[in-house]
Amino acid sequence: MTLLLKGGRVVDPSLNRDEVADLLIKNGKIVKLGKDLYKANKAAPDIEVLDLRGKIVVPGLIDIHTHLREPGFEYKETIASGSEAALAGGFTSIACMPNTNPVNDNRSVTEFIRRKTTECGLVNVYPIAAISVKSEGTFLTEFLDLKDAGAVGFSDDGKPVMNAALMRRALEYASSLDMPIIAHCEDKNLSAGGVMHEGFVAAELGLSAIPSVAEEIMVARDLLLAEFTSAPLHIAHVSTAGSVRMIREAKARGIRVTAETAPHYFTLTDEALRGFDTNLKVYPPLRSREDRASVREGLSDGTLDVIASDHAPHARTDKEVEFDYAASGLTGLETSLSLSLGLVADGALTLLSLIEKMTVNPAGVLRLPKGGLAIGADADVTVIDPDREWICDRALFRSRGRNSPFHGWTMKGKAILTIVGGTVRYRDF
C-alpha cells in the first residue's frame, strides 16, 4: 500500500521544515519527502494519490493527557470510543492517565490497556501508570515492572502527591529509568471543597473557591524537588500566572522541567461560570483573565512546551446535577486542535511552534518514537484544513462524553485526514 500526499504545506518542527512538498508513504513508513514525487511514483501499483493543495500536512498529533476511563468507567468512555475521538481530532498517539477503576498501578492494568489498544487498532495509546498504589499517595508502584509492561510515565493525575518525601522518591526512582514524573499540582488543604477559581466571580456566585496558590505551592515544591534530585519533571495542566512564572525561572536555571497547558486555560476564564454550566467545572479551575494572558505568554515564549487536552469525558448523569455535585472535567480531543489553531490566528504562536507543542514536544516528554516525518519514521500523519469552518456539535462527537463547553461554537480549522501507521483511519473531505 502506497500513499502519496501531494502538494500540501508540510510543517514538521522536528525537521524544521515548513514548505509545500509531497510525502510518500509505503508499508506504514515515511519513504520520501520532497518536491514533485508524483511523476516518479504515479505508476506504482496500488498507489493512492491525495491532492492536498491548500492543506497542512503535519506529523500525527500527540495528546499526552487524556482520560479514557477504561477499565471501570466504560459508561463515560472506552479505549475504543476515546480512540475514535482522537482520530476525529487529528491525534494519532494519545497517553491515558491511570485514574481508572482499578487504578493503573500494576502490570495487569497496563497490559490490559495495551491489549485493548491493539484490538481496537485505531491510534497509539500509551498508558501512564500511577505513582502510588491506588494513587493514594502512600506507597510507590512497581515502576520497573510497569515500564516493562509498557507504561511511558508516572502520575497520580486527578490527585496530588501530598507527601513531599514520596514525591522525592518517585522522582529519584523514575529518573533512574529515564521516565518522567507528571505532576498534578494541587495542595488539597488549600483547594478543599472548592469548585471554581477564587476571585471576583466566585465572590459573586458564592461558590466555594480554589485559590491559585493551591496550584502554585505545589509547582514550587515540585520544582525544588526536581532541582534537588536532577530528575525530569513534567507539570500537567498549568493554569495560573504564578505557575508560568516559576516554571520560566526554573527553566532559566537549568532545571529539567517541561510543562503543558490545555486549550480551555488559554481560551476561557472564570467569567464563563456565571450561568452555572457544569461543563465548565474542571480542575484546575478556569482562572482569571490575567492568568489566561500569562498562559498564552508562556506558550509564546516556550515556557509551556506542550498543549494537551486533559480530555475528561463524563456521562450526562455526572454533569446534569447541581454545580457542587457535578463531576469535573471536559471532553477535549475533538476540539483541541481547532482551539489551538486560534493561537496562530491570534498571532500568539507561529504554526510551526504550535505543531511543535502538539507533536515533537509531547513525544519528547514521554520519550515516544513519534512526532516527526523523517525518512523511516512510522507514517503517523495528520492533515489540517486551516480554512474549514465548522460548528462544534456535541451530538456528533465520537467520544461518549458530551461534556463540552464549546458546544455551538464556530471553529476555524480542522483535521480532515488522520493517518496511523500508513493507514487512513479518519477522513473528512
Binding site: 477564587e198 476571585g199 471576583f200 465572590a203 458564592g206 446534569e320 454545580f323 457542587d324
Partner: protein
C-alpha cells in the same frame, strides 16, 4: 405594570424598576395580613410547591403563609440533600413535580445555582428561596422594603453589613440590591469571612466592625453559622462575640437614628447582644412581617398579576 419574567432567581437579574414594582406591590399586600379574615381569592386554583432541600422555618413558613393568604394551594416538600445525592436527582424530582402541574416552584438548596438549573428545564416559575452562599432574593427584597418603609428611601443611605460575608447569600443579595437602589454599603467581618474581590461589587470592606458602622443609617447583622464554620474560619465564638458583635457601646458609632436588622435566626450574645436585638432600634420583627408581603407580591406578579 407587570413583572415580565418567568423566574426570580436573584437580585442580580432584577432592574431597579422591577425591584420598585415588587416593593410597591408588597406594600399593597401588607393590609391583607391585618384583616380578621386574612385571605383574598387572588390565587385560587393555583398551586405553589415549596421544595426545601435545607432546613428552614422562617422562609418556608413565610412562603406558605403568603400562598395561603392568596388562596393558593401550597405544598411543602422537605428533602435532605444527602438522600438526594444518593437517590433521585434534583432534575428528576423537579420533572416529577412539573408533571403534576404546579404554577410556581419555590426552591431552597444548599448548592449555588440549583434554582437556575431548574429554571432552565421547567416551564413553571421558579423562585429562589436561597441557594448555597449565592443569593436569597426574597430576603433582600423584604429587607429593602423594611428599610424603605422605615426611612422613606433607600438612596443615599449608609448601610453596614456585618458578619460572615463569604458564606452569606443574604449579604450577596443585599449588596446587589442596595447598591442598585443607590445606598452606600460597607461590610465588615474577620478577614477570613471577607471574600476576595468583594470590592468589585461596589462595597467598602473592613475588618473591624467599628469602621463599618460609623455613621451608618442601617446596621445589618448576619447570623454566624456556629455549626460548620468555626473550626477554621475564626478562632472561637468567644472571641467573635467580643470583637464583632453589635452591642450597646459600638452602636453609638452609628447615626443616632440608626436601625438594626438581622435576617434571623439570631444567636443572642454572639453576633448581637440581647438588649440591641430587643431594643428600640431593632426592626427585626418588621422584617419578618414584610417577608410575608414580599412573597405574596412575588407569587402574585409571577402568576401574571398586574398593579
Amino acid at each position: 405594570m407587570k413583572l415580565n419574567r418567568k423566574d426570580v432567581l436573584g437580585i442580580r437579574e432584577l432592574s431597579v424598576e422591577e425591584i420598585r414594582l415588587i416593593l410597591d406591590t408588597a406594600e399593597s399586600f401588607l393590609e391583607v395580613s391585618t384583616r380578621e379574615i386574612k385571605k383574598v381569592p387572588t390565587l385560587r386554583g393555583r398551586t405553589v410547591v415549596n421544595l426545601f432541600y435545607e432546613p428552614s422555618t422562617r422562609t418556608r413558613t413565610s412562603f406558605e403563609i403568603a400562598g395561603k393568604r392568596l388562596s393558593a394551594d401550597t405544598i411543602n416538600i422537605s428533602a435532605s440533600t444527602s438522600s438526594v445525592v444518593k437517590g433521585e436527582t434534583l432534575i428528576d424530582t423537579a420533572k416529577n413535580l412539573e408533571a403534576m402541574n404546579p404554577d410556581i416552584i419555590v426552591i431552597r438548596h444548599s448548592a449555588a445555582g440549583a434554582p437556575h438549573l431548574l429554571a432552565g428545564l421547567l416551564r413553571q416559575s421558579i423562585i429562589n428561596a436561597g441557594d448555597g452562599a449565592h443569593e436569597h432574593p426574597t430576603q433582600a427584597l423584604l429587607d429593602m422594603m423594611t428599610i424603605r418603609s422605615k426611612k422613606g428611601r433607600i438612596e443615599g443611605l449608609q448601610v453596614a453589613i456585618i458578619g460572615d460575608i463569604a458564606h452569606s447569600r443574604v449579604a450577596r443579595s443585599n449588596i446587589l440590591g442596595l447598591t442598585k437602589m443607590g445606598a452606600r454599603v460597607s461590610v465588615a467581618g474577620p478577614a477570613t469571612m471577607i471574600p476576595r474581590g468583594i470590592e468589585k461589587m461596589g462595597v467598602i470592606a473592613h475588618t473591624r466592625i467599628e469602621e463599618a458602622i460609623r455613621d451608618a443609617d442601617i446596621v445589618m447583622m448576619l447570623r454566624i453559622q456556629t455549626e460548620r464554620e468555626r473550626q477554621s474560619i475564626f478562632p472561637s465564638l468567644r472571641e467573635y462575640a467580643q470583637y464583632f458583635s453589635l452591642n450597646r457601646r459600638n452602636i453609638e458609632l452609628a447615626k443616632p437614628d440608626a436601625l438594626v436588622m438581622h435576617p434571623g435566626p439570631i444567636n443572642r450574645g454572639v453576633e448581637i447582644s440581647p438588649d440591641i436585638a430587643d431594643g428600640p432600634r431593632s426592626i427585626i420583627l418588621d422584617q419578618v412581617t414584610n417577608g410575608v408581603a414580599v412573597r405574596m407580591a412575588l407569587l402574585y406578579l409571577l402568576t401574571g398579576g398586574d398593579t
